[in-house]
Symmetry: C2
Subunit: 408 residues, 2 copies
């Protein structure tokens, strides 16, 4: 497997420790490889938890149990298995997850429902219980590791490790947020899947934590796409240990709630964009901003229709300011749009306004913009105040190479 | 432009003349090329017409006027321009269409609303009125041409000409149906678009003709996809000259209505599949059959989710029986599905049943099947009686080559 770093990769940032969260990794050897592939996070008593999970109707047992237990609001541990997604494995897969939950619950003396498990990798093969048991035992004994080591251990086909950090003042107390993520387009059935974990030392009531994560997720993780495919295991979780000692955040009226949300949004946006930057075969990062839609939801659907269009993505790969393909993608979104009020631009230059090509359209600045790595497409529908921004990457020969596993 | 015939091409079939329909072609030279690019069909008085058009919110003036006028039920002529789609050209584009309608209406002495126009090719450039006028004049004077010449003249990036024929007995009278189509995946903004025209000598009331075309289209043209993109000009029209002298078909209770519909469905299915066989870069034709869904509409959504999944399409390109990617595509369709009752097979061999890989799954026959050009994927949801079959092609490097117009 080619793991040359993506040309859009970013270096792993400096990230502070989070009081109340200790990370460890171990080698469960879920595949024939010599690397850490089991990640274990131990969380302080009283840690609040929130989660957003794939909407796939064929979700894994990890996701089913996670969804169920996150409603209880508290977490003491997280276990992430890399190399085997344990998806589509029926009751045997579920048994493996329950075994891990019980093993950790005994070791930490906490309820099993406070132990969260994620798995990523091949589909259809039940997680081997023996390897999982030995891996968890090794992780419980291991030395604490760095953010970067944990980010690396949760990875599968990722070509670079991904992390993000932000801080905020909450009632005068500084709180930290650190996140790691893995994912490189939806290649879940083989290896990948988007798994993201954010840790903060802030004190936040579980219900409000969930409210903020759901909202931030809808503005970030729900706004990225590599190939329009959705994994059976996509998961983002947020753990708040409460060790910073800030006045507890319990709702939007709490002091510092807005500041905390801003920092959370920043971490989520960065993590989401890093996944796009590791899109399979990606050579260009594309931001698509839609304005003037009838409402925000409509704007998002139109933006995603453009972002998922193979014709738009191949045009950008070829450096072609093909606004006709953008028109097509707007038209097929099934949302209110009026040909005669539609405007389209690239990198800040309008190519068409109010349904017609600009007579004095100068393609030179657009061509220069499209030679770069960071591409911006603007679409104004001229109908209302709805707006949305989404992120994707171009579609190149590299995508085909990675996904068409030619058998020789 | 590489116009090497698709490896999935079929030879143009022998097709009889249709009494009451005369085809002619001319060189309007909409592009710098030396080929017929304007097709003109003159239809007998009293010809019934039906049409299905793109649902794009950014449709061309041709589509807007066609939709409007088809409601009147009668047609005397069809003009198809190749090389310029006239889409996204505002009032100037509309003027060109109206000019063609009026020119033909004067020549034939019929209402302008009985003249139908389609255009396919580059977007954003108004159809040049001078070229259109001279082209129509030349076509009015030209000798009648063959089905294959007309099929070739409506083509743009097609790598082979496409036609289909069927006949039926209606109340003891033999009627003929002949269809031509162009399209090779959604590359509309540059050149293509799906335009299909079916001619029959049967006598059919316009309202029933529309009812049958809409139904047949939903089972055929709505069940194909190359890349999930939808053109701003997609059009399928059906003209019934009534010259066969059969007892007029006015509803399902008419003698021969079922036989006529079967023949129409056969022609539509063949035309639709020919478009997929000319999919950009296609090396394999893929049939996806979904059964056991809660209803037919749900089955179709799930089948299209699989057919549009770049991961499934690249797996097939690579000869990889990757049923995990099919699970993923089922899961993301947003339709009722239950992991534990889901079964997936390739070429008649089940790989997974009731949510689990088959323990005795023999991959050899599946691998042999996937080496062929005609691939079949079966998905059974185990929930109800809903079923649907859709057709697509694989996703290869050829698609990227064709659509990423690298500027040198």
């Amino acid at each position: 497997m080619d793991l040359t770093p993506s040309p859009l990769a970013k270096p792993f940032p400096a990230m502070p420790a989070i009081d109340g969260a200790v990370l460890r990794v171990a080698r469960a050897r879920y595949k024939e490889w010599d690397r850490a592939d089991l990640t274990f996070a131990e969380l302080a008593e009283g840690t609040s938890v929130a989660g957003v999970f794939t909407k796939s109707a064929c979700a894994s047992s990890e996701v089913e149990l996670g969804r169920e237990n996150v409603a209880n609001g508290h977490a003491r541990a997280l276990v992430v298995n890399a190399g085997n997604s344990n998806a589509f494995t029926g009751y045997r897969g579920r048994e493996a997850v329950v075994q891990i939950m019980e093993q950790v619950s005994e070791a930490l003396g906490c309820p099993a429902e406070q132990v969260f498990v994620s798995s990523t990798g091949v589909i259809g093969v039940p997680l081997p219980k023996g390897k999982a048991r030995a891996g968890v035992a090794a992780a419980l004994e291991a030395q604490p590791c760095s953010w970067e080591e944990a980010a690396s251990a949760i990875g599968t086909t990722d070509t670079f490790t991904k992390g993000a950090h932000a801080s905020a003042l909450v009632g005068g107390t500084r709180v930290e947020l650190c996140g790691i993520i893995k994912g490189s387009g939806m290649i879940a059935p083989d290896m990948a899947t988007m798994l993201g974990y954010i840790f903060t030392d802030a004190a936040v009531e579980p219900a409000f934590l969930q409210q903020m994560l759901s909202r931030a997720s809808s503005e970030t993780f729900s706004c990225i796409t590599v190939d329009g495919d959705t994994s059976t295991s996509d998961t983002v979780m947020l753990f708040a240990t409460g060790k910073a000692g800030n006045p507890v955040l319990s709702g939007w009226e709490s002091a510092g709630a807005d500041a905390f949300y801003s920092a959370l949004l920043e971490v989520c946006r960065e993590l989401a964009q890093l996944v796009v930057r590791d899109g399979e075969g990606a050579q260009k990062f594309i931001e698509i901003a839609v304005t003037g839609a009838t409402d925000d939801a409509s704007a998002r659907k139109i933006a995603m229709s453009i972002a998922n269009s193979p014709l738009v993505k191949t045009a950008i790969a070829g450096g072609d300011a093909n606004w006709g393909r953008v028109v097509m993608a707007v038209g097929k979104a099934g949302e209110p749009a009026d040909r005669d009020s539609l405007s389209i631009g690239f990198g800040g230059t309008w190519a068409a306004r109010d349904g017609q090509p600009l007579p004095d359209y100068d393609e030179a600045p657009v061509a220069r913009h499209l030679e770069g790595q960071d591409i911006r497409i603007d679409v104004d529908l001229g109908l209302g105040a709805g707006r949305a921004t989404v992120w994707t990457c171009d579609l190149t020969h590299g995508y085909i190479d990675i996904n068409a596993d030619y058998r020789s």
